[in-house]
Amino acid sequence: MSNLTPELERERQKICRLAKEQGLDFFDTIFEIVNYNQMNQIAAYGGFPVRYPHWRFGMEYEQLSKSYEYGLSKIYELVINNDPCYAYLMEGNDIVDQKLVMAHVFGHCDFFKNNQWFSPTNRKMMDAMANHGTRIRRYMDRYGVEVVEDFIDVCLSLENLIDRHSPYVMDVIKEDPNKKEVVEIEKTDGFRLKVHRDYMEKFINPPELIAQAKAEAAERQKFERRHFPPEPVRDVLNFLLNYAPLESWQQDVISIVREEAYYFAPQGMTKIMNEGWASYWHSKLMTEKIATAAEIIDFADRHSGTMAMSPSGFNPYKVGIELFRDIESRWNKGRYGKEWDECQDMSARQTWDTKEMRGREKIFEVRRNYNDVTFIDEFLTEEFCIQNRMFVYKFNKRTGQFEVDTRDFKAIKAKFLFQLTNFGQPIINVIDANFENRGELLLAHMFEGIEMQPDYMQATMKNLYKIWQRPVNLATVLDSERRIVSFDGKEIKSILLSDLPVGDGNS
């Protein structure tokens, strides 16, 4: 329940009204004042008041509390995607801070409600989280805290192996397995090339070649028939949930972890946009409407702190807000489209202004339809990179440190997109659930030029084994060589892919 002081409540109503006047549209937003301890707790729980019991929340809490106590960090705001939205204000913050946070929060709430990538999320997640807590506590009572907690550890270790795009695929064309035509290889003539002259027949379609092609096709068909899954599966958690030998409570735990991972996924997919959008609005509302003359310096101080750029990584707040402003100004001045793109005349470009004033309309459209990948892909421009002093850095083995690599626009964009794709996680598919015909699991890492961290990979393989309960294999690249890393319950083995006996044709 809201516990705002009368002063803050007045501000809340005012800011809410101002935000709505600007066209923001959000669920009811309930603000609560909490002390730093509660704030740290809620932050440790990822914004929720109640979660299932797990030590990592305790670890998070300890780190947050310590860094707060040592004055290293302070959480200003927390908001959760729920209907109604809940947001928390820290007790004892300046009134300027509270106003800023409220304006920022309304930006987030608008984003949650309207961005299409959030559309499949559960808007009653607050209740769902509490339910998850109850279910897991019940399992802990029945099976023991350690047992359940260990299993949660295992699930969390695989938490990122979900298909972030699957919630948006509306209708998967489901093939009816019964209807699938089984081609009878013996009868088919598909292997024969067309022959116009009879006497050419034995030259164009030599019988031994046809026989060989048929044999291969039969082999392939045989393989496909017993091959499972027929297509690579990206949602590894779901696959394990359905096909791993688990007890029902374990299945439930996996489904809980998976559900929460999917709930949080859009926030990862739209980090730059979401923060950028909220910052855009807090900045606009504060400077134009809310802050008094006496508060503006304090506001500027807080705002610039949030927008600080760092050489060792991009600041999503900064990149987001600047991109939104850039888009607004470009569409206001008509700096888009074919003519603009093809214009090579620098002076014309600099003074280009068609007075279209479509900027506001455009940014609302962008906030509805884009996620970080498409946002950067479409709107990151060379001018923008120069203005915002962006560069790509990489690790130099010789000097042992990270160094500026290049300021080339294409390289920046490529790196950016790579970092954002799949939320910067390696993409891993289930390829075969009956690898080597021994019921082993085969996963494949879609290699994009960057290798996985070997120690983490090995530990994760061990966890995967605990669920699959048969040897697990992962095709990946290690030390620039294609390898299959496997764990059979006893030891980690890494075999060069070229050394593998050619078997089912998985390569």
Binding site: Q41, Y45, R51, P53, H54, W55, F57, G58, M59, Y61, E62, G133, V145, E149, D153, L156, S157, L158, E159, N160, L161, M309, S310, P311, S312, F314, N315, V319, N388, R389, M390, F391, V392, Y393, F395, Q401, F402, E403, V404, D405, R407, K415, F416, Q419, Q425, P426, I428, H445, I450, E451, M452, Q453, P454, D455, Y456, M457, Q458, A459, T460, N463
Partner: protein
């Protein structure tokens, strides 16, 4: 609150990790000299949840700022430190108190709680008649308090007449003395640490002694509330020093062990009457005494003075390049079956834990 539960689980896990690697931490020099409530930072292998993820070094990223190609990027890197091939290269620093570590030490070595002998309890319960109660035996009636109550009542009810000040107590005015239990921790255990700082004790030997006495001290403090500690260093002459000096001093000179024993004897005689005190002298040396005669004096002091009085006399001998280690042999020869004497040989840092167990494992 839920988070407290989670935090406790986390701390349990951390404690477990510390226990696994306890040997390493015991020989962590920086802890020596800390007090029981002081925090120490302990690096434990990261308890991250493993995931399939990219190696940070290979990945690089997009940054913002000035700088030409080839210039170093400063600031904290994602995943600084060695991205290793082996697990356990990622460390998490946790803060623990010396008290907590002492508990872990106790659990790890399965040290028994120390049972003080006889009725020499570590804390004393006394009863003080300082309370007042409206009921009680007539013998404990408190006249003054009862009168006050009666006076209060009569003034309040307006029956009091200053000219004719009769106050007649009724039943509910009466007050009785009652007792309260007062538990007083009684400082009735004293540990006297004696360290040989003579020339033959090298820096490494002294460090071993310091670490060992530090942990013994930590454990005893944890178990005896109000434990007293005294520190003696000696070469050819002995002197009493404070804790800080004991853990940091370096001197050199000849060795007369008896000088320390005599000083210790004086201390005990003056400050710690036998009836009221549990006495634990510990002596650390490389076993190299100046003369056979001095050794004989020590042995007779032990025999005549120390053994009848102390709960336990600990002698720890550090291996040293120069020392002959003769003193330990003499002790063993003279007192082959003396119950009060506990001898431990500390060859190197690795053996500190074992040696602590030698000393404290008997629960004397």
């Amino acid at each position: 609150m839920g988070i407290q539960e989670d935090n406790n689980r986390f701390r349990d896990i951390v404690r477990g990790r510390i226990k696994q690697n306890f040997k390493k931490y015991v020989t962590h020099g920086e802890m020596v000299g800390k007090r029981e409530k002081d925090y120490v930072k302990i690096p434990i292998p990261s308890i991250d949840i493993p995931r399939f993820k990219y190696g940070p070094k290979q990945q690089g990223g997009v940054g913002q700022g000035t700088g030409q190609a080839g210039e170093a990027v400063d600031g904290d890197q994602p995943g600084q430190g060695q991205a290793g091939e082996n697990p356990g290269e990622h460390f998490l620093e946790v803060d623990v108190t010396i008290d907590e570590l002492a508990d872990i030490l106790g659990e790890e070595l399965a040290l028994p709680r120390i049972e003080p002998k006889g009725n020499k309890n570590t804390d004393v319960t006394t009863y003080k008649y300082s309370g007042r109660s409206p009921v009680g035996p007539e013998g404990l009636r408190h006249f003054k308090a009862s009168y006050k109550e009666a006076l209060k009542r009569s003034i309040a009810s307006g029956t009091y007449d200053p000219d004719e000040p009769f106050v007649v107590p009724i039943r509910r005015d009466l007050r009785y003395k009652t007792y309260r239990k007062v538990v007083k921790p009684q400082a009735n255990a004293v540990v006297i640490y004696m360290m040989d700082v003579s020339g033959s004790m090298g820096d490494e030997q002294k460090e071993i002694v310091r670490m060992e006495s530090f942990w013994i001290n930590a454990w005893l403090r944890r178990n005896y509330k109000g434990l007293e500690t005294r520190f003696i260093i000696h070469d050819a002459a002995a002197k009493e020093v404070d804790e800080k000096t004991f853990f940091s001093t370096s001197e050199s000179g000849g060795t007369l062990i008896s000088s320390a024993y005599k000083l210790c004897q004086k201390m005990i005689e003056e400050d710690y009457p036998l009836e009221a005190w549990n006495i634990y002298p510990f002596h650390f040396s490389d076993g190299d005494n100046w003369s056979g005669e001095d050794t004989r004096m020590c042995l007779s002091l032990l025999q005549k003075f120390f053994f009848p009085r102390v709960n336990m006399f600990g002698y720890g001998q550090v291996e040293s390049k120069y020392g002959s280690g003769q003193f330990l042999k003499d002790l063993e020869k003279t007192f082959p079956s003396e119950d009060k004497l506990v001898i431990s040989k500390i060859e190197n840092k690795e053996k500190i834990l074992q040696s602590i167990k030698d000393f404290l494992g008997k629960g004397k």
